[in-house]
Amino acid sequence: MLQFSLKRLFQSILVLIVMSFLLFVLIGLMPGDPIDNMFEGNPSLTPELMARMRELYGFDQPLSLRYWHWFSAAVQGDLGYSTMYFRPVMAVLAPAVLQTAKLLGLTLLFSVPLALLLGSLAARRPNGVLDSAIGIFSFAAISLPNFWVSLLFIILFSVTLGWLPASGVPMSNDASFLEEAQHLVLPVAVLVMFHVGPLIRYVRAAMIETLSADFVRTARAKGLDERAVIVRHALRNALIPMVTVLALSFGHLFSGALVIETIFGMLGMGKMIFDAIANTDFNLALIGLLLAITVVLVSNLVADLCYALLDPRITL
């Protein structure tokens, strides 16, 4: 287990280094650079001055050399400066990471139990009334674009009913818990719907397969009630393939968060990466993207460890 984790950790670090190089090159190939941004619309700027600035900041050097400079600084903990916010990257990213962690954490807290519940209910009588209703819901959740659902929710709950704030996050640190919760309800609801749709289908399929297994018949033959049969025997086995699906869906969820944060005006990771790319804020975009990659790598590692916990046939 420990050896496995260490091996995977080493692999993950390797992947991160390779990805950081690829991202660095890709961002470097984008038109424009931070110097353009800095002096945008400044009439007193001459091409000579800009060339001197480029030289000063090292933008005249080849990409590979620039990467080496960035890398040697990054491993020492210096992630650079955000040209958009004029603050160190970490100082800009930390609150955004916290914001996104809240959004995604709350989403997972609701979407996973909901998917397990609805998927299991649907699997009890395939093609029955309940299964059809849940099927319609999950297909709607899969096919409706989440930005459109967000707008509908805002129109209904904020504009027409006036129950919840339309967007934004309370700025001050002393904002009440209730106030913050109110701002999170709509984005979390939209993301839960976005996440839960495909998950329900997976849970349903896994449960239908497991419920027809011989050991479920054995469990019934023991005289267990239906709930014990489903929860203790079927669900526990159906969960094993679900771990992979969940880990893979995490990247998808992250990309969904980008859209949702933009619509609801939340300064989360998604919005931050989007703005950084739009404003050629190299350092911020790079670290933001690498963080997103780290999240996917970690969720895959956690999935593998969960496998070993859930399935005694697997030893790591």
Partner: protein
């Protein structure tokens, strides 16, 4: 006078009444066209306490559906009609709650493939303990202690360690022993064994059969033993029911059936048993397949060497041709 006679008769019946009395059991599944397809038709048999009934027939003849209907576990939209008398009550009239109380406590079942019949992510000990928790209200520790005792009773060495193992860590024979321990945890009155030795190799088969016989002598339970293997059934059955295409075609004591098989299908089955004393060039086979069935008349007619127009006219019913020997064939006198 009539009343006294009736009472006497009822008393006499109660004393000799078999533990299980199946009457006119029919299991059918709805078909796409809106009709019903019967996989078991009009089956009747009895099993007394301490008795073993062997149910024999080829794959697809309704053996497993018969046993699942005893547990109330016929899958999907299957419909079970007739009467399943168990200790004087009709199981088919029970509520789901009564079925649950019965399953695993009074009637228990062991299955063909012990690998897939056990939950792969639950320890063997827990799976046995679960039965005791449900039916005897034992706590975690007590039920696990009893599970270890049961594993010991079915001849598993170092039972305390094996109880912590998961099914994949046990050998096939061990797993089937553990399944038997699970089935016998609450000392059921009837054990339904659905081809429990088919997936095992021959030496293990013999061990499992011995174990079942031994446990039956100890507990006095009745056994319904389902198999397609006549050799297996000859070792432990007191009575034998031969099934063909969902119907009982011959029903007799073990001695009667092997000494004097009457139905052409039974005769065919017995002839297919290889006899090590006799050297033959080719083994005997019954030609044709179960799927080819005539629209009316005897279901075996298309494969029967004796079949005539009489056989194809009407379906023969099971009738007693000698005391305790029933056969469904018009050619038998």
């Amino acid at each position: 006078m009539g009343f006294v006679a009736n009472t006497l008769r009822l008393n006499a019946e109660a004393q000799t009444a078999p533990l299980l009395s199946v009457d006119d059991l029919t299991v059918s599944f709805p078909t796409k066209g809106g009709g019903h397809n019967a996989v078991v038709t009009g089956l009747s048999y009895q099993i007394a306490q301490s008795e073993t009934l062997g149910v024999v027939g080829e794959s697809g003849c309704g053996k497993t559906m018969t046993s699942l209907s005893l547990m109330g576990l016929v899958p999907g939209r299957g419909r079970v009609t007739g009467r399943i008398g168990f200790e004087g009550r009709d199981l088919l009239q029970q509520s789901e709650k009564q079925w649950r109380d019965l399953r695993g406590r009074e009637v228990a079942m062991i299955f063909q493939e012990p690998m897939t019949a056990m939950n792969p992510v639950m320890s063997v000990g827990q799976q046995i303990a679960e039965v005791l928790k449900v039916h005897e209200g034992l706590g975690q520790r007590d039920s696990l202690d009893r599970a270890i005792d049961l594993l010991k009773a079915v001849g598993i060495p170092s039972p305390a360690q094996r109880a912590r193992d998961f099914p994949h860590q046990l050998s096939g024979g061990m797993r089937q022993r553990a399944m038997i321990a699970m089935a016998l945890a609450c000392r059921p009155k009837l054990l339904v064994a659905d081809e429990p030795t088919t997936a095992l190799d021959v030496t293990i088969q013999a061990q499992i059969l011995d174990l079942i016989i031994e446990l039956q002598e100890e507990t006095g339970m009745a056994v319904q033993f389902i198999t397609h293997n006549l050799a297996v059934v000859s070792e432990l059955a007191h009575k034998i029911l031969v099934m063909y295409a969902g119907r009982g075609v011959e029903y007799a004591t073990s001695e009667q059936l092997f000494d004097q098989p009457l139905h052409p299908y039974t005769q065919g089955l017995i002839q297919t048993l290889p006899d090590p004393d006799r050297k033959v060039d080719r083994l005997h086979v019954i030609h044709g397949s179960l799927r080819v069935q005539p629209a009316q008349g005897c279901r075996f007619a298309s494969r029967c060497p004796l079949a005539s127009d009489e056989c194809r006219a009407a379906e023969p019913i099971l009738r007693e041709v000698a005391p305790g020997h029933f056969v469904a064939c018009v050619k038998v006198n």
